[in-house]
């Protein structure tokens, strides 16, 4: 166990920090619980009844806020799951009042919508990283289909008139005691989200919103993580829907409609999409005020429209963000600062770690241009190799083809004996391939510490680990070494990575790439933008780390001085294929290579 001076103070902070943190993650739920207990005492049962409806909407709004504020994709059709939960829950309540065995079906009323959401999200997100806006529109079209179906299949849903005569859950009264159940549900969902945000999964969600590409290169199956989060949001919506059915006693197609979907989004935006409590209170405050003032005051809805525009334009984190700014706390990620501390992390899964890489006649085209044109290249075993060649030679494209970012037109790429073709980036990363991008791609709004932990967790989180506190205390010898090699990172642990200067960002990007301890490193211009002194240090660190990991490394570099310093075999790429390979000295006398570099041949 190597412990660095930079990691030392973090160690002593760790335990206390995390305990404080757990308390804080439940604080919003505690405030909410107190307020909801006080409400019927301060007002009367009717006030509680009215507020109860918007608490129900608020729970569904929290789901929208989870997807949008945490993971960065906007579900525009959340009412589909709300409506499904309402119809299924309402029908179950009706059936159960006649035949108690139907109570067993109630969980299905919540699980079916969640499974539908999960399936849709898996199908859509697996296809493309850039499916965000399309996903939003798909959910919108789906809720409109649901609305049509609810109107059309009147035998099942009661059509336009709705599914009426839904009884309360036994022992509860719609106009008084049901409020208690709703209040418990609202506190529970707020507490659940608060706790999740303080666990590793919360940090991973933020990281996905920040830079999904980077997450995939670390080996996180982001499409599955997004689908799971979407399913959770659908579960919240369906639960809220079932409560809605009990509260209203009738479910009409409007519960599945476009208008309600948009209202969830508006409430989340106004209340604060990054904060579960904010989203809930947004729904309660705006929704309740609208219901009260709509009839009294004709221009009220114009005012709501203006408020919404103002929030979108000037308050991206809604009123909750404003409140947080007012109380002087940091913005996103300010609460869940994980500590890098010394508690040995488990090994990354060692099965299926690739050590040999082979390109066999790889062709790739993009927009009609051939960028890889029969590339043959193979490396095996540990050690550094350099990839050089003029601009447009296909160096970065070779990395892209290997990591699932560029479809192959012909040929194949093998990791050991496994064909990479058609595999997503995260699968390749899980085979032990670490990639450092040409332009450092860190998670700008996360702190340096969070950046490092996200990379450290890659390949190490198993089972329920993402939900446990424990991984916040993980550390590895390599991690301590990185902080020693790059002291500037240790000094900036709690600052957002987006504020780091270019040179430090290169250091962070390199650390992110090696922390999952890959067996094959793809380093794309690690020294770009570094001063000569920084370049020297970077080369030393690369050499030491590659040796320590016993990894093979393929390094793209333009600076031939750096290539010479790195030693190792050199591959020259030209016009999408391998031109020559050998030691730098040999290549410097090679006529073909000289012509390419001197511009003699086209």
């Amino acid at each position: 166990m190597v412990s660095s001076p930079a990691a030392e103070p973090a160690d002593t902070l760790a335990a206390g920090g995390i305990r404080r943190l757990r308390g804080r993650s439940l604080l919003p739920a505690a405030w909410l619980a107190a307020a909801l207990v006080a409400l019927p005492l301060a007002g009367d049962d009717f006030l509680a009844y009215q507020v109860g409806l918007f608490l129900v909407y608020g729970i569904a709004t929290q789901g929208v806020a989870l997807c949008w504020g945490r993971l960065g994709f906007l579900p525009l059709g959340q009412a589909l799951f709300f409506g499904l939960g309402a119809y299924l829950g309402g029908a179950t309540l009706k059936a159960a009042s006649a035949q108690p065995a139907w109570w067993l079906a109630l969980p299905l009323a919540l699980l079916l919508p969640a499974m539908l959401a999960w399936t849709v999200a898996r199908l859509v997100f697996a296809r493309s990283l850039r499916s965000g806006p399309y996903f939003s529109l798909i959910t919108l079209a789906m809720t409109m289909l649901g609305f049509l179906a609810a109107q059309q299949w009147s035998g099942l849903t009661g059509g336009f008139n709705g599914l009426g005569g839904i009884p309360e859950p036994p022992g509860l009264d719609r106009f008084s005691t049901l409020y208690g159940l709703i209040a418990v549900a609202a506190v529970a969902s707020t507490a659940l989200l608060g706790v999740l945000f303080s666990r590793p999964i919360g940090t991973l969600w933020s990281a996905i919103a920040q830079n999904e590409d980077r997450m995939q290169f670390l080996g996180y199956a982001t499409d599955r993580m997004k689908a799971a989060a979407y399913a959770l949001s659908a579960l919240l919506a369906a639960g809220a829907g079932a409560l809605f059915a009990a509260h209203q006693g009738i479910v009409t197609p409007q519960a599945m409609g476009f208008v309600l979907s948009t209202e969830f989004v508006i409430w989340a935006a106004v209340g604060g999409k990054a904060s579960p409590l904010g989203a809930l209170l947004g729904a309660v405050a705006v929704g309740y005020a609208s219901a009260e003032l709509r009839d009294l005051f004709a221009a009220w809805e114009v005012l709501v429209g203006l408020l919404f525009i103002a929030v979108v334009r000037f308050l991206p984190d809604g009123l909750a963000g404003l409140a947080r700014r007012g109380s002087g706390r940091a913005g996103t990620g300010g609460l869940g600062l994980p500590r890098l501390a010394s508690c040995p992390a488990p090994q990354t899964s060692s099965s299926s770690r690739a050590t040999a890489l082979r390109f066999e006649g790889v062709h790739c085209t993009q927009g009609g241009v051939r960028i890889l044109n029969g590339l043959n290249l193979e490396i095996e075993g540990p050690g550094i190799r350099c990839l050089i060649g003029p601009n447009g030679a296909g160096k970065t494209s070779a990395f892209n083809a290997l990591t699932g970012r560029l479809p192959l037109a012909a040929g194949r790429i093998l990791l050991d004996a496994r064909d990479v073709g058609g595999r997503p980036a995260w699968w390749v990363a899980q085979q032990g391939v670490g990639r450092k991008l040409q332009v450092p791609a860190v998670f700008p709004a996360l702190s340096v510490r969070e950046n490092l932990t996200v990379a450290l967790w890659a390949g190490r989180l198993r089972g329920a680990d993402p939900l446990r506190d424990e991984p916040h205390r993980w550390s590895t010898p390599l991690c301590a070494e990185m902080l020693e090699d790059f002291p500037e990172l240790g000094e900036a642990l709690d600052r957002p990575a987006g504020l780091l200067p270019q040179g430090h960002r290169q250091a962070l990007e390199f650390a992110l790439t090696v922390l999952p301890e890959p067996t094959l490193l793809l380093l794309d211009e690690p020294c770009a933008g570094l001063s000569p002194a920084e370049t020297r240090r970077m080369i030393e660190v690369i050499q030491r780390t590659v040796r320590r990991l016993g990894a093979g490394a393929l390094l793209i570099e333009h600076d031939l001085g750096a290539v010479a310093a790195l030693q190792g075999e050199v591959f020259v790429l030209h016009q999408g294929r391998l031109l020559a390979r050998g030691s730098l000295q040999d290549l410097q006398t090679d006529l073909a290579v000289r012509e390419v570099y001197a511009g003699g041949r086209k």
Binding site: W68, L74, L123, V124, R127, S128, S131, G132, P133, Y134, S136, L137, I138, A141, M142, M144, L145, L148, Q151, Q152, F258, T262, V265, I266, A269, A298, A299, E301, V302, V304, G305, L306, F308, I309, V312, R313, P316, G367
Partner: protein
Amino acid sequence: MDGGTLLHGLNIVYELATLALTTLGLAVVFGLLGVMNMAHGEFVMIGAYSVVAAQQWGWPIAAAFPLALAVCGGLGWMVERWLIRPLYARPFDTLLATWALAMLMRKVVEAIWGRGFRNIDSSLTAAVPIGSTAYPAYRLVLMALALLLLVALFFWYRRSSAGLRVRAMTGNPVLAQALGIDTRRLASQAFVIGVMLAGAAGVLLAPLIRIEPGIGIDYLLDAFFVLVVGGLGTFGGFIGGVGVIGGSQAVVSSLAGQTSGYALVLVISILFLWLRPDGLFARR
């Protein structure tokens, strides 16, 4: 050709023409600027209400046209300047901001004219004989106008220097700027033109529809679906999208009812969004 078939064909052409009319504005704003203007339908709605206003104030109906262009143009300029421009880099936020704008426009119109339906009294519904059947003259005029507008826009986009600048900006905004194209002004103009087209479509459609503050959403969604199916920024895609969405809706609606037609459009759109998000004629 017997009268029934001819009537049927004319109806489908009419559907396609109105769809093309209401989509054009969004094709400019979304297709060229990449702004998902959720208030597009509301600009169509404003166009229709300017006919209502003209009629109410005792103006000649034709005066609604300049009125709608002025209102939509002025509003569009302000919206682009203060709402869209600061948000170009944040696509989700433009979507939301224009959505909020749509809500606001709806509510303002509701506050002025109320929620009820309105119809335009007009003498334009007279039918003229065509072959063995008769067809409302105004609908024929509308089809001709839609065709004319499409052709004009095509030549403007492909042949004029302004069109060239717009294409340059769409292809590579930074390079276009480096070549001395004032992309900011150009984007503003494109947005204003887009919403003015929407307003004009509203004026033209006003005599044919029941006007109420909430009509915008249907126009918006149909237009979106056309662009999704057709892909952005190409003329062939636009025509193809209008054909697929309008055609399938018209055919299925006449066979199995309005709801089925609409459901089919939704399903087609979901499939396209999922499997071919770059549209019908995407290269990859």
